[in-house]
């Protein structure tokens, strides 16, 4: 058994210790916002925050997360990046957007006023196949502006 905090709530997983965090989130906790893209830590679709740092959930065994705090896209519901992604219509299929939102939230937490090149650098590991990139970049810029203006960020 592994106890961890997920989106502010203490949860206990009964999955075997080597189970990837992604399977625990989706299969055991019913948090389906974290998407399965490759299972090989190559696409970023399953990005979550672990104690505030971005990590791909497919590559983290649940047993390593005892006492840690995990934030998923569901935990970003009130975060400025979600509203900004919708405002910029920054998705086509939307499958990559959970990971994009998490990556952007991590960036904005450490750099509230990133330039476009810094945003692109931070999002570079995150794959999008539909070509929503320009809109996603604009959404991160918008979120930064909104949060600086005391908007919906945190």
């Amino acid at each position: 058994m592994t106890s961890l905090t997920v989106n502010g709530t203490v949860r206990t997983s009964v999955s075997p210790p080597a189970t990837p965090l992604l399977d625990v989130l989706r299969g055991e906790f019913g948090l389906t916002g974290t998407r399965f893209g490759c299972g090989e830590e190559q696409c970023g679709a399953c990005l979550v925050l672990i104690d505030g740092a971005p990590a791909q959930a497919c590559g983290r065994e649940i047993a390593t997360l005892e006492g840690r705090a995990v934030t998923t896209v569901e935990g970003l519901a009130g975060h400025g990046i979600i509203a900004a992604l919708i405002a910029e219509q920054a998705g086509q299929c939307g499958y990559c957007l959970s990971g994009m939102a998490v990556a952007a939230a991590a960036l904005l937490a450490r750099n509230p006023t990133p330039g476009r090149a810094e945003i692109a650098q931070a999002l570079d590991p995150q794959l999008c196949r539909c070509g929503a990139h320009p809109r996603i970049l604009r959404a991160v810029e918008r979120a930064a502006r909104d949060m600086a203006a005391g908007g919906t960020g945190r």
């Binding site: 998407r35 299972g39 794959l127």
Partner: protein
């Protein structure tokens, strides 16, 4: 009366499309959301014609029980055909309700209007609305298509950039078929036949059981079924299936040049006269096999219950898939229900149908148990149909001014249309698998598949082409965004730059000298202006500007793309401009999103993408083996949407693919002072062209 659009001709009954209950409007359509925003644009059309707010619409798309049969969501036809049908349905329904209200009110329909579903007389409420009148208005009747839709000037919802209906739910962590959970659902994965025709010799059933999973099997179809995804993965790894025989492939088959050495079914079209004598120019272009490379692997859920096989899938066509599944399973189509559910981005015939058939077969072998199939990333790369390699060779006869007076094309291609009974992966492994007939694909110019856009949109007195359709591709191929138009436009628009160079003309001026459609001319001029074309500069400086134009299928959306690059031994995109003409754009921001997405996907394919092949077919089985364009490689993209609101709406999802590929090649060739004719335009290709 003019012919009805196909979707309406095939589904005449109004109540197949519309229902009114409890203050809501139930709209049912066959064209499905595959990431292109169609659900939003079609909803705008329905709300516009019915005079109801978008918030009143309940949307149902792609359902063999509950929605009309509109075939497949493909070929950029969802607005042109699906939208045109829905518009006529809604206009006619509105007229029927107005007529009934007029009768009750002893008024003329001309005195009445509708506001958010309420019937108004001289602007005042009448107490009647769609819902109060619903019991009196019979929608179980065939559409006539005779009620004219609203004129453009009356549009309030069509033509606005309405936000996508589906994004909030997806960002809240729901919305994909991948996210479905049914009570008692089990997770399953097929042990894929590694080579076509291979026979399953053995597998380790005991190891599967030790891992906590079970095995289902029928002939060479074998699948592992487990309580969780994690158990499924370890059990599938433990299964260690042994196969014998099957068709082996080889690395050299990954090149389009190999395809050109293979037996082909040759079809010719166009001018039967021999090309005249005169100065000639000829060149050959190619693209390799490319992957859909959708971000999420294919997924489906199937449940055999109460004599019904119910399937949820992200297929492009629920009815075509149902027919295919019924044929494969040998059962009555009426005993199968297929419901569309959202999937990761769909750019054509990907693995969705195969995954759905996987789930369907397993569900029929385990009645009562809901079965979820999610492909692995490796299987998605290795087993989804690929976009075929192609080679397009062009030969022009030029007049004294260097203008083409005669153009011959030879296309060598695998199939782009590869659906139909028995062609899905699992069907090939069942005990009753039948020999496959050779692929059937039209060689006509419209809509064309391998031949798509091979007839130039320019004024060339005589054109002809030969389509060499090769059945023996080393990997399974089918429709991928743009089909043959990507390679054919890449070839034609590269060739136009070459011809302009031979004539000593500017490429833009040269094109305008051959373009008579005023909409096309405006588009090329606008794109050139956006890109500051007059300041283009000489060739060979390491900085290049290129441009290319096409009208998709020569009848659909127009796009002109200009690209600035820096190039040495690699090509870096610096800026992209695009002007496009959608006719009446139902949702201008949605059109822009499609244009941007097509440009980026085409740029990725043009610069980077090629599937590698080994003895077991596709060898590129991870993102590390198949890189796509990333954020830091994507330049600013400026889009100009031409304003043509009085022209019919045109499908826009695929129109940028070919022009983008050619514009990049033209820009790179301008930068380098040498011609690159073979995608992808990698370092190796540049060095080869320079040698």
């Amino acid at each position: 009366m003019t012919a009805l659009p196909k979707s309406l001709e095939d589904n005449r009954r109004l109540d197949r499309w519309l229902g009114f209950a409890a203050g809501r409007v139930q709209v049912s359509v066959g064209k499905v959301e595959i990431g292109q925003g169609i659900a939003t644009a079609l909803a705008q059309i329905a709300a516009e014609e019915l005079d109801v707010s978008l918030a009143r619409l309940d949307w149902r798309a792609g359902d063999t029980q509950l929605a009309p049969d509109e075939g497949s969501t493909s070929s950029s036809l969802s607005i042109e055909v699906g939208g045109a049908s829905l518009r006529l349905v809604c206009a006619e329904a509105r007229a029927l309700f107005l007529a009934e209200a007029a009768r009750l009110l002893n008024a003329s329909p001309d005195e009445l209007d509708i506001a958010d579903g309420a019937i108004l007389r001289d602007g005042a409420e009448t107490g009647h609305d769609y819902w109060s009148l619903a019991a009196r208005v019979e929608l179980a009747r065939d559409a006539t298509g005779a009620v004219p839709p609203k004129p453009r000037a009356a549009h309030r919802i069509v033509g606005t950039s309405t936000p996508r209906r589906d994004l909030p739910e997806k960002l809240a962590g729901r919305g994909f078929v991948h996210d479905m959970v049914l009570p008692g659902m089990r997770h399953a994965r097929v042990l894929r036949q590694p080579r076509p025709g291979a026979t399953l010799v053995s597998l380790d059933a005991a190891a599967i059981a030790r891992a906590g999973a079970s095995l289902v099997r029928s002939g060479d179809f074998a699948a592992v079924v487990a309580p969780t995804e994690a158990v499924l993965r370890s059990a599938a790894e433990a299964a260690r299936p042994q196969w014998r025989d099957g068709d082996a492939a080889a690395p050299e088959m990954a090149e389009a040049a190999w395809l050109a050495t293979q037996p082909a079914d040759i079809r010719t079209r166009g001018s039967e006269a021999s090309p005249p004598a005169g100065r000639r120019h000829a060149a050959s272009y190619s693209r390799p096999y490319v992957s859909h490379a959708s971000l999420g692997p294919s997924c489906a859920v199937a449940h055999e219950h109460d004599g019904i096989l119910e399937i949820w899938s992200h297929v492009q066509g629920v009815y075509p898939f149902r027919a295919n599944a019924a044929g494969t399973l040998g059962r009555d189509p009426d005993s199968i229900i297929v419901r569309h559910a959202h999937g990761p981005g769909c750019y054509g015939h990907n693995g969705a149908d195969d995954a759905a058939l996987d789930a369907a077969i397993i569900a029929t072998l385990l009645p009562g148990t809901p079965i979820r199939v999610l492909w692995s990333r490796a299987d998605e790369f290795a087993f989804a149909p690929a976009g075929t390699a192609m080679q397009t060779s062009l030969s022009a006869v030029l007049d004294a001014d260097g203008r083409p007076i005669d153009l011959s094309a030879t296309i060598v291609s695998g199939v782009h249309v590869n659906r139909g009974a028995g062609r899905l992966l699992a069907a090939r492994t069942l005990p009753n698998a039948q020999p496959l007939p050779p692929p059937a694909e039209s060689s006509d110019p419209y809509p064309g598949a391998g031949t798509r856009n091979i007839v130039p949109y320019y004024d060339i007195p005589a054109t002809r082409y030969a389509h060499h359709l090769v059945a023996g591709t080393p990997i399974r191929t089918s429709a991928l965004r743009g089909l043959g138009a990507v390679e054919n436009v890449f070839a034609l628009e590269s060739f136009m730059d070459e011809l302009a160079g031979l004539a000593g003309r500017d490429p833009v001026a040269y094109r305008l000298g051959l373009l008579s459609d005023p909409r096309a001319r405006r588009l090329v001029e606008r794109t050139a202006a956006m890109a500051n074309w007059p300041a283009r500069g000489p060739a060979g400086t390491g900085v290049g500007l290129g441009l290319a134009f096409a009208r998709y299928k020569n009848r659909s959306g127009y796009a002109c793309v200009a690209v600035r690059v820096e190039a040495d031994t690699e090509i870096r995109l610096r800026h992209i401009w695009c002007a496009a003409d959608a006719g009446l754009a139902i949702n201008p921001d949605g059109v822009r999103a499609q244009l941007e997405g097509g440009i980026i996907q085409a740029a990725s394919m043009t610069l980077k993408e090629q599937l590698r092949i080994d003895a077991d077919g596709i060898a590129s089985r991870s993102w590390a083996d198949y890189p796509i364009l990333r954020f830091s490689e994507i330049p600013p993209i400026d889009i100009a949407l031409m304003d043509e609101p009085d022209e019919p709406s045109l499908g826009m999802g695929e129109c940028t693919m070919g022009p983008t590929a050619a514009a990049i090649a033209n820009a790179a060739s301008h930068a380098l002072g040498l011609r690159l004719r073979h995608m992808p335009l990698t370092r190796e290709r540049i060095l080869a062209a320079a040698a």
